[in-house]
């Protein structure tokens, strides 16, 4: 019995934390965020060298062939430094879609390019979860029409995987005729999502017509795990930044960390977050080893981490006082990362409703 990270995973964690912390002091984060490109080439290449872009891709397609829990260890590190790379879309969701639903030819064509970091993918599944502004993509014959919003990491992407209803997913190069990409600017400038408009685009369907329902489901599950891990890392850093600040900041001749009003806020933050780390680990493990348990635990884990994240982003900012509200401190980069993760691929309310349905609670 061992519940937790293995020694190898702890090594992985250490090396990625070192990598991101070296690459991303605050001034670099600010500089990269201000470019609003959603991908910094230097860091992306570093991740390719560390084999991270192929973490989930089997060795036969040029990847490292690791499991979801390994991938989440990397994602948590990326979240800790609000790393400006399209990792969730390109290194997690797209490989899962291709591996689950792709034909052998599609896997051979795209997976090695993803692993090598040469091609970046954005993934459009928003309307499968929740539709706003009547968006959505439809397939008629072999032609795609419509709009999809909040394509994950679509800003810097070269190729898109776009769901057209619950059973079809298309591989769409950015440069294909009839494709219009509009970058969407959220409050989080470290990653760039987009809207993709398709007008009479000829579809290369994942696995063939009507064959992608399993792939879409797993892609969404993997994306939710990824966003939750990103928030876990970002939120934990917010807590420790608050603790460190409170130890340094003096008012009324005392470090504010010695006031119970302040330290109880910090205790509440860590208490809300830490149990969900355990649940997220289990959900990631279930994703690979116990598929029957994966869906419900992923829904509970992301919704719970999102709620903890909401509490932490606000409370950690408050502990910083006025400085937390400024750009000088830069805490807002973490705040915004956590906010956007919460909204993507299902807000907690939507996830909890899905969880009720998944458990059959609404059946008679």
């Amino acid at each position: 019995m061992e519940f937790g990270l293995s020694d190898d995973q702890k090594l992985l964690e250490n090396s990625f934390r070192r990598f991101t912390e070296n690459k991303l002091p605050l001034e670099r984060i600010r500089e990269f965020a201000n470019t609003k490109t959603g991908c910094n080439a230097d860091i992306w290449n570093g991740l390719v060298e560390l084999a991270a872009t192929g973490v989930l891709i089997p060795e036969q397609y040029g990847g490292a062939g690791f499991k979801m829990l390994d991938a989440l260890v990397i994602l948590e590190s990326l979240g800790r430094t609000v790393t400006p790379v399209p990792f969730t879309g390109s290194a997690i969701m797209a490989p899962v879609a291709l591996l689950t639903g792709g034909t052998e030819a599609q896997k051979e064509e795209w997976l090695p390019q993803i692993a090598a970091g040469e091609t970046k993918f954005g993934v459009g599944v928003t309307e499968i979860i929740s539709t706003r502004d009547s968006k959505g993509v439809s397939l008629s014959g072999d032609t795609l029409n419509g709009n999809t919003m909040f394509v994950i990491d679509g800003g810097p992407a070269d190729v898109y995987l776009i769901a057209a209803g619950p059973d079809n997913m298309a591989i769409v190069p950015r440069t294909a005729p009839g494709v219009t990409v509009t970058q969407l600017t959220t409050i989080d400038y470290t990653r760039m999502h987009c809207e993709v408009k398709l007008e009479g685009v000829k579809a290369d369907l994942l696995g063939g017509k009507g064959k992608a329902s399993e792939a879409i489901k797993k892609t969404i599950m993997a994306g939710r795990l990824a966003l939750a891990a990103d928030t876990l890392g970002a939120a934990e850093v917010m807590i420790y930044k608050a603790v460190e600040y409170a130890k340094e900041r003096k008012q009324f001749e005392r470090a504010i960390a010695s006031y119970q009003a302040v330290k109880h806020m910090c205790a509440e933050m860590i208490t809300e977050l830490e149990p969900f780390r355990s649940l997220l680990w289990y959900a990631a493990y279930a994703y690979d080893e116990m598929p029957d348990e994966a869906l419900i635990n992923i829904l509970l884990a992301k919704s719970g981490i999102d709620e903890a994240g909401k509490f932490i982003k606000r409370t950690a900012t408050e502990v910083h006082g006025g400085m937390g509200f400024t750009d000088l401190m830069g805490l807002h980069y973490w705040y915004k990362r956590v906010s956007v993760n919460r909204a993507l691929l299902g807000t907690p309310d939507i996830l909890r409703n899905e969880a009720a349905i998944a458990q059959g609670w609404l059946a008679a």
């Binding site: 019995m1 937790g4 470090a255 010695s258 149990p275 884990a301 719970g304 409703n353 009720a356 609670w361």
Partner: protein, 399 residues
């Protein structure tokens, strides 16, 4: 990550299951009894000890099973008895706290005299720690003892002494060295509850029941050999016991079964002709609480894993009391609020649901948030020991 227990443990589990299946008709009803163990409980306890399903690691010469500590087996035992909803043997402060303390700090004579009858349910213990003026700041306790003719003469008042009205013995903290600093003047003493001068008054709580007592002590005479450890070292002795208490994790299995019970309420009860579960507001709250309960379940496994590897889990263990008690109360809140006015009905009223047990539970949950170190004390511990934040300066230091 490896969630299998391995063949040795699966065999152990299978044997235990067979044991429960075969013997459960002899078991007294599950759940904490607020009464002195009687023949039925004592016989069941004896059977469990003989088979190594309780008091496993207590040495044979003191009446235990004498096994090597094996936390996985302890967990399997807890899991299986909870799952079968079968009484898992006697618990309480004698077995849970006094016995480990005697094993660590008692002398041979004390161990031989008290451990066997305690674990067999013949001697029932209560705990005399808290006082009206010494709660969170327990070390400021004022119940005192002077020594005369080889006896402590104890005077003072204790509170929250659950079970004192049927206990045979009490382990009590008293100030024996009034001139020493507060942590160094305390002794840990075992006191016979039949000694003259002890008056136990039931303390009725908000639930309407008397789950606790106040215990008044007037010139209570206790032989000096009843001190555990050395005189004046009672604070240290008590802390080894608290360590055992902290070692016991909350039981997430119990909270998961609460989720099941609330789900049944939501599926069976109707509001405006529609089942509660179909009302988004109640469903959403239950799932949010379910997420936290599942998180606690896996968190316990993570802590267990640390224990198995002898690792210090740091802040992740310190949060458990605060998180668990807050969550338990959140769960009973959901049950009550989903029932609306019906949730306010109590004991014996027409239309009352589950005999009013959700109200009782909800009030008692609040007691558990306060007892055993209030949430505010927990937050001090989490932030100071877990996050390295400084203590609040003492009053004198700030002047």
């Amino acid at each position: 990550m490896d969630l299998s227990y391995g063949p040795e443990y699966e065999d152990f589990r299978a044997e235990l299951r067979a044991f429960i299946e075969k013997n459960q008709h002899k078991a007294p009803p599950a759940g904490m009894g607020m009464k002195h163990p009687e023949a039925l409980e004592q016989d069941w306890q004896k059977l469990l000890i003989e088979n190594g399903y309780t008091c496993r690691t207590i040495p044979k010469k003191y009446g235990g099973y004498g096994a090597e500590p094996d936390i996985l087996k302890t967990v399997i035992i807890q899991e299986e008895f909870t799952k079968a909803n079968v009484n898992s043997g006697l618990s309480g402060q004698g077995i849970g706290m006094l016995v480990p303390t005697l094993l660590e700090n008692g002398n041979e004579e004390q161990r031989e005299k008290y451990i066997r009858p305690t674990i067999y349910g013949e001697i029932h213990w209560c705990q005399g720690y808290s006082e009206p003026g010494a709660g969170s700041d327990l070390a400021s306790l004022r119940t005192n003892a002077r020594v005369e003719d080889d006896h402590f003469i104890i005077n003072g008042q204790k509170i929250w002494t659950s079970g004192a009205h049927f206990a045979d013995m009490c382990f009590i903290l008293v100030r024996t060295e009034p001139d020493k600093p507060k942590h160094e003047g305390i002794s840990y003493i075992m006191m016979d509850m039949k000694t003259p001068g002890i008056e136990v008054r039931p303390l009725v709580t908000m639930t309407g029941a008397a789950e606790f007592n106040e215990t008044f002590l007037t010139d209570v005479k206790v032989p000096v050999e009843n001190v555990v450890g050395k005189r004046g070292e009672g604070w240290k002795v008590a802390n080894t016991t608290l360590k055992h208490e902290r070692g016991m994790l909350g039981d997430p299995g119990q909270m998961l079964s609460r989720i099941e019970s609330i789900l049944k309420i939501l599926q069976n009860e109707k509001l405006d002709g529609k089942r509660l579960i179909e009302h988004d507001m109640y469903r959403d709250r239950l799932i949010a609480a379910q997420a936290k309960t599942e998180a606690l379940k896996f968190h316990s496994l993570r802590l267990l894993s640390h224990t198995l590897k002898n690792e210090e889990p740091g802040v992740s263990r310190l949060i458990v009391k605060y998180y668990g008690t807050t969550l338990a109360r959140e769960l009973s809140d959901i049950a009550l609020e989903a029932l609306g006015e019906l949730g306010q009905l109590y004991m014996g009223s027409p239309h009352v649901r589950s005999h009013g047990s959700w109200q009782w539970r909800n009030m008692f949950d609040l007691g558990l948030i306060i007892g055993g170190g209030t949430s505010q004390i927990q937050k001090n511990i989490i932030s100071e020991r877990g996050l390295g934040m400084p203590r609040e300066p003492k009053l004198a230091e700030t002047k």
